[in-house]
Amino acid sequence: MMDFLANLFDMLGSASFWVATLRVATPLILGTLGVLICERAGVLNLGIEGIMVAGAFTGWLAVFNGADLWTGVLVAGLVGGVFGLLHAALTVWLTVSQHVAGLGVTLLATSLSAFAYRVSFPQVSTPPTVTAFAPLEGLAGLPLIGPVLAGQTSLTLLAIALVPTVAYLLYRTPMGLALRMVGENPAAAEGQGVDVIAVRTGAVIAGSILMGLAGAFLTLSAFNAFFFNMINGRGWICVALVVFASWRPGKALLGAVLFAAFDAAQLRLQQAGGALPYQIYLMLPYLLSILALIVMARRAAYPQALMKPYRKGER
């Protein structure tokens, strides 16, 4: 027991553990903020899994074809936004079931990416690579957090900076209030002069842009190539993290980091060569997440109009 605790503290004290944690957390932070923005406006966006694939692929493809890294990120965001527009068209304008539309967007975006990859690279055995974002080694000198930040790229800093930004936009601007209101009581918002359809559409597009960025992080920063299955359920984790976070940006950051820490810890446990089959370790972060979700989600105050389509003139 004492050994275990000592090892635990060793791990928590090591910079490399936190470097890994933040790396794992970055796409989750971006994706969770994306889902959060959509859901606060009352739209469930299960397209996230596919939008992340599309963002990962297109961002990487742009860089592979000679664009610089930030242009690649921009392309991923734009592609995310386009799929967001599709999701908004289906759910907000045509008011079809948000679950079904979201799963449809995921299937479409995933398949389109796979198709485009196969068309672009008919015969490759090893995935082609690009030069990814470099770690910010210049930050190594900062006290305490320097070694951790030095292992990260600009995209991670961007993701972290987006947390207070999104919180400010949601809670301190008229637009954020309108967005929260259309997710709580769209009829009331309409009655107060807010264009519900426009705000919801905008929110879904903005959230989907962040999902595209989350995908791009994987191919342009965490790795330097595109693989099939590289999103591997991260989008679904984000959907769960939003519930864990009670739809609050700060708690979303906490949740993403917590999940990432579990993941980084299980990697270490695997490397340490425990007696258990490695699949057990792979399960750990998910099991712990479910436990955390049970504790947190019981108290969660859902946006009251979540998944409720709004049709003007109908009550």
Partner: protein, 518 residues
């Protein structure tokens, strides 16, 4: 503002929904500083008219002027800008947001990079003080009482500088005391020069608060009267189009104890729903349960149809202890008239005849070896439809297409009619039996309940409408926070005392209530 101009002028407003003419050539003026009551039954076109006024709908014909200026149709924003404020019957508030957030929404340009919350809060407090509408700007709306929420709704309109306020059935959800406070607010508003349209179907209030009354019937404006020149009877006749006699209670002999609750306690998910409840209802007796909804009435109704189990205490019908199993309750001939017709009263997508027969399918008259005797069930339904005057195009239409009144008659018929080897109900549990019905249908439902009691049934009526309870109940008990006060004879109760108990002030002191009445 020009004093000589009417605050609001509706000219020849016509609105059709398919074949239905919801508003038929309505012309109406609202003077500055006036309270105009808009009176009419459900479906008379009141809501359509104000929805057009507020821009939720666009009128097919006619136009609207606000202080002499034409109002852009179909645009709530334009209505707001013109100074028209609307207080919806079902509050248009977001429960999870604060009062300030709810008021502030839409008052600032959306693309502003910051929100002037401090100034907004000061202005909100100032407006609240000016009109005597105290609220805490930082409270979450979900934590407010119904009366407070209504104040927030009114503040929302006043904050935007509304000169014309439309109140849609504002007292429907209020306790008598809260209604009083609303009437006081209305007086302040009018004194400050605002004009008010007060929509209601309650005659007493209309007579009390308005200067003029406009009566709508079947989409037409049938009359505009000065309030002081009219009477309750006249307005009722104008509203319904014929004279309506509301049934009244007559003394009936009370028989044996039918329902007996003693020390009943029930909780769900750690929350106490019913707390030490005791109540006796005898054959031939109607007992009314008053209370603001959400104080355990639903739990009581659930208990009495077998869908909620008591943790402790005694629940018996005609001396036999009851289990929490709806089958048993139906077998004891406990008839239920549930609160929400659409949600639990009928299965909307099933045909009328299946809904009518649903509670009796286990009887040999209606099924044999698990196979429904369709012919018998249909015959039963036809009799029921005729007997209870349910208006429909056929018993094979889905139940959801029935109007509220007809759906309630169907449910009433199912509860009260006798089929096969059945007997008349021993106990009738009616939860909000006339909610949302018009006067004609209310009279019918009351007649049925009174007749059932006269025929020897024990009747429990749960209602938020005190007029209803005072009209038909022999005894009244008040429910507050899961506790039930003593059931006192209606003659000994005063509305004021019942109202106070509904608000919790005198829940434990119902002695004071009877003294007050005497």
């Amino acid at each position: 503002m020009n004093e000589s101009l009417p605050a609001l002028r509706l000219a020849n407003i016509t609105k059709r929904f398919g074949k239905l003419v919801a508003n038929d050539d309505i012309s109406l003026e609202l003077g500055t500083g006036e309270v105009l009551a808009l009176l009419g039954e459900n479906g008379a076109g009141k809501s359509t008219l104000v929805s057009i006024l507020f821009g939720h709908y666009v009128a097919d014909e006619g136009h609207i002027e606000v202080f002499g200026q034409p109002l852009v149709p179909g645009n709530p924003k334009a209505a707001l800008a013109a100074g028209v404020g609307m207080v919806h019957q079902h509050f248009a508030l977001a429960d999870n947001l604060s009062v300030l957030d709810n008021v502030l929404l839409g008052t600032e340009p959306l693309w502003l990079p910051f929100s002037r919350r401090r100034a907004a809060r000061a202005r909100l407090l100032h407006t609240a003080a000016r009109f005597g509408l105290g609220v805490d700007p930082d409270a979450r709306v979900a934590a407010l009482s119904v009366g407070e929420r209504q104040r927030v709704e009114i503040l929302k309109a006043l904050y935007r500088g509304a000169h014309i306020l439309i109140l849609d059935e504002p007292t429907a959800v209020l306790t008598p005391q809260e209604s009083e406070s609303l009437f006081a607010t209305l007086a302040t508003l009018v004194a400050e020069g605002l004009s008010v349209i007060f929509i209601s179907h309650k005659l007493d209030e209309v007579l009390r608060v308005s200067a003029r009354v406009a009566v709508l019937r079947g989409g037409r404006l049938v009359s505009v009267r000065n309030t002081e020149d009219t009477t309750k009877t006249e307005l009722a006749e104008l509203m319904v189009g014929r004279s309506v006699t509301l049934p009244t209670r007559e003394p009936r002999p009370h028989g044996d104890m039918v329902l007996n609750l003693s020390g009943v306690h029930a909780a769900q998910g750690g929350k106490t729903l019913l707390d030490d409840l005791s109540l006796v209802v005898r054959a031939g007796e109607i007992v009314g349960i008053a209370g603001v909804s959400g104080n355990g009435q639903q739990a009581l109704a659930d208990l009495l149809c077998g869908t909620l189990a008591a943790d402790s205490g005694e629940v018996s019908v005609s001396g036999q202890a009851m289990r929490a199993n709806p089958r048993d309750w139906i077998a004891r001939r406990v008839a239920r008239i549930p609160e929400d017709r659409h949600a639990v009263g009928v299965v909307g997508d099933l045909p009328v005849w299946e809904n009518a027969a649903s509670e009796r399918l286990h009887l040999p008259a209606f099924s044999c070896a698990g196979i429904v005797r369709g012919k018998a069930a249909r015959a039963f339904t036809r009799t029921l439809v005729e007997q209870f005057d349910v208006r429909l195009s056929g018993i094979d239409v889905p139940a959801r297409v029935l109007s509220g009144g007809n759906m309630q008659k169907l449910i009433l018929g199912r509860a009260l009619s006798v089929a096969g080897d059945d007997v008349t109900p021993t106990l009738i549990v009616a939860n909000q039996p006339t909610w949302g019905l018009d006067i004609g249908a209310v009279a019918y439902v009351h007649r049925c309940l009174l007749d059932a009691a006269a025929a020897g049934a024990a009747v429990l009526v749960i209602s938020e409408d005190l007029d209803e309870l005072f009209a038909i109940a022999d005894r009244i008990a008040v429910m507050f926070k899961g506790r039930l006060g003593p059931a006192l004879p209606t003659e000994g109760c005063s509305r004021a005392a019942v109202g106070l108990a509904m608000a919790g002030s005198a829940a434990s002191d119902t002695k004071g209530a009877s003294q007050h009445a005497a």
